[in-house]
């Protein structure tokens, strides 16, 4: 609760600061006659987009309060299903069990690519899909076998249920599981820290999280870029979803429409993802 309060406070102060230069966009007109509170929780990948949209909306209409909390895809499903929040975000499609249990409706709004990443000092810049499968299955354990230094491979994976792990295992490992000897970290941030600190590391992060501290590896010659993910040339991609309990109404509906608007698409691109057209 206090975390929620703190986040609200941060959002509110950002909104006040940003008021100084606020050209009103037309798509924000939908919020003019609305008021009340909108709570959003779930996938960590969604947060930059959700926060930016929330700032725009609260700036346009101070009567609206929007809170954005993390927690992961599972928490997103649970909270929206139990009516604790109006929008629950997931980095994976809902399971049939979840749809049946809570009566949820999904809105895919962005494409996120997952990149295989190594330490910047590692000479290996490209791997084949077969090599990646062998590495994550624990069959290949030395970088020499992949054209690198003679050093043991430090394997890092994400925890079970992580959307990033699911995307990676489905698209890059063809639904195989990784070896149970791999280290498990529980966020994109922890993964980046682990890879940046360990010269022999290999792991995976959302493409939006690639920066100078780690290096993305090309898969079958396809470099992990947002463009490649959008065109479908880069194979390891996933959709980001917003989920509501039943068809969205009022403020929730307006928020979702804003994410799909032209302004929303700009926010999605800024966060490092590719906008996904509403069907």
């Amino acid at each position: 609760m206090s975390q929620l309060f703190r986040k609200t406070l941060i959002l509110a102060s950002m909104a006040v600061l940003a008021m100084v230069q606020s050209p009103r966009a037309d798509s924000l007109d939908d919020f003019k006659n609305l008021s009340g509170k909108l709570d959003i929780a779930g996938g960590t990948a969604h947060i930059p987009v959700m926060k930016a949209a929330a700032q725009d909306i609260m700036r346009a209409n101070p009567k609206i309060r929007i809170t954005v909390a993390a927690g992961g895809s599972g928490v997103g499903v649970q909270k929206v299903g139990e009516g604790l929040v109006q929008i629950g975000n997931t980095g994976r499609a809902l399971k049939e069990k979840e749809i049946a249990k809570y009566g949820l409706v999904s809105f895919p709004f962005a494409i996120d690519g997952v990149a295989v990443a190594v330490n910047p000092d590692n000479p290996v810049t490209s791997l084949t899909k077969a090599q990646i499968k062998d590495v994550f299955a624990g069959k290949v354990t030395n970088w020499r076998e992949l054209g690198g230094h003679d050093a043991p491979i430090s394997l890092y994976v994400r925890e079970d249920g992580s959307g990033t792990r699911e995307t990676f295992e489905t698209r890059a490992l063809d639904k195989a599981s990784s070896t149970d000897k791999a280290n498990v970290v529980n966020s994109n941030g922890a993964m980046k820290t682990a890879i940046a600190k360990d010269a022999n590391a290999i792991g995976y992060v959302g493409i939006g999280h690639l920066d100078a501290s780690i290096r993305g590896v090309a898969i079958d010659g396809q470099k992990p870029t947002q463009e490649g993910a959008a065109s479908g040339a880069y194979p390891v991609t996933r959709l980001l979803y917003m989920n509501t309990k039943g068809q969205p109404q009022g403020l929730t509906k307006a928020f979702i429409e804003y994410i799909f608007s032209e302004k929303g698409k700009v926010l999605i691109s800024k966060a490092g993802y590719i906008p996904y057209a509403k069907k």
């Binding site: 599972g74 069990k97 043991p152 079970d160 249920g161 149970d180 970290v185 022999n200």
Partner: protein, 296 residues
């Protein structure tokens, strides 16, 4: 009863009994309900034959929900932390009570302050510091990725150290002070008194310190989560990655709601609770039987 305080003034004497009684019953009921709830919630996992938590493989997307590697991991980490931390705690507590410590008053004060300060450091700070200092050091010197049993157990032993020292010191001090006038007059040093008279008579204090230390080591989540590597398998060497039940629960609850993976967590909770109870009972029993009559 001429002594009057706000309690006896404001509440008639005859109601104080029922209030105390009610408080005790509520507290007991809370503990009882907690135990019943964990047991009841764990039952489906125990009787499910398709997704039994009692196997050695944890592969949720292939229908394997075994928590046994994590049970072993938890026991390995708590006992190794206790084994590393307890002698260290005993040494510091004994040193703190001897003349040697009094001779270096500044060092004594500094160590005391440091121990008390250690109790206030949040585990997330300890873990974060260790990720940047201890993990690369271990990677360089003992191989592996640095996220391993040894790293986690070193930090957990540091975590449980102050608790054990404070318990040991307060337990030993009273007995030592009582013996001092005669013992010192007979030419014993404070260390001799501790070594030959106080410690053999203080098995209960030693046990109490070990039980408290073990309990903290068993339940701590963040240190193993950030330092042990979390690979769901049984480590065969100290430089291998491993996962404790507490870290396992933290990892699974982040993403799962309902389903076999989630249900297996209650079995994990029951195991943690059971281990804590069993170890406490065994140590207490040892303490009772070992309190031998005074030696000459």
């Amino acid at each position: 009863m001429p002594r009057s305080n706000f309690l006896t003034e404001n509440i008639p004497q005859e109601t104080a009994g029922p209030w105390l009684w009610l408080g005790t019953v509520l507290a007991m009921l809370g503990v009882f309900c907690l135990c019943v709830m964990i047991v009841v919630a764990a039952l489906p996992a125990f009787f499910s034959h398709s997704h039994s938590p009692f196997e050695w493989v944890w592969q949720p997307n292939q229908g394997h929900f075994g928590i046994l590697p994590m049970c072993v991991g938890t026991l390995l980490l708590s006992f190794s932390s206790l084994a590393l931390g307890f002698p260290w705690a005993l040494a510091i507590a004994v040193w703190h009570l001897t003349e040697e410590a009094s001779a270096f008053a500044h060092a004594k004060t500094a160590v005391g302050a440091l121990i008390r300060f250690l109790t206030t450091i949040p585990t997330v700070v300890l873990s974060f510091a260790a990720v940047f200092l201890l993990t690369p050091f271990l990677r360089l010197h003992i191989g592996g990725t640095g996220f391993c049993l040894l790293g986690a157990s070193l930090m957990v032993s540091l975590l449980i150290l102050p608790t054990m020292i404070l318990v040991l010191e307060s337990g030993l001090k009273g007995k030592l002070e009582a013996l001092c006038p005669y013992g010192l007059a007979l030419g014993f040093s404070r260390y001799d008194l501790l070594r030959y008279c106080v410690l053999p008579q203080s098995v209960r204090t030693l046990t109490q310190a070990a039980v408290l230390g073990f309990g903290r080591a068993l339940g701590d989540t963040l240190l193993p989560l950030m330092l042990a590597g979390n690979a769901p398998h049984v480590p065969t060497r100290v430089n291998e990655s491993m996962r404790t039940l507490s870290a396992h629960m933290a990892l699974v609850t982040a993403n799962e709601v309902g389903g076999s993976a989630y249900n297996s967590l209650f079995a994990a909770g029951l195991f943690l609770l059971g281990t804590s109870v069993v170890v406490t009972l065994i140590l207490r029993r040892l303490a009772r039987t070992d309190t031998s009559p005074e030696r000459p």
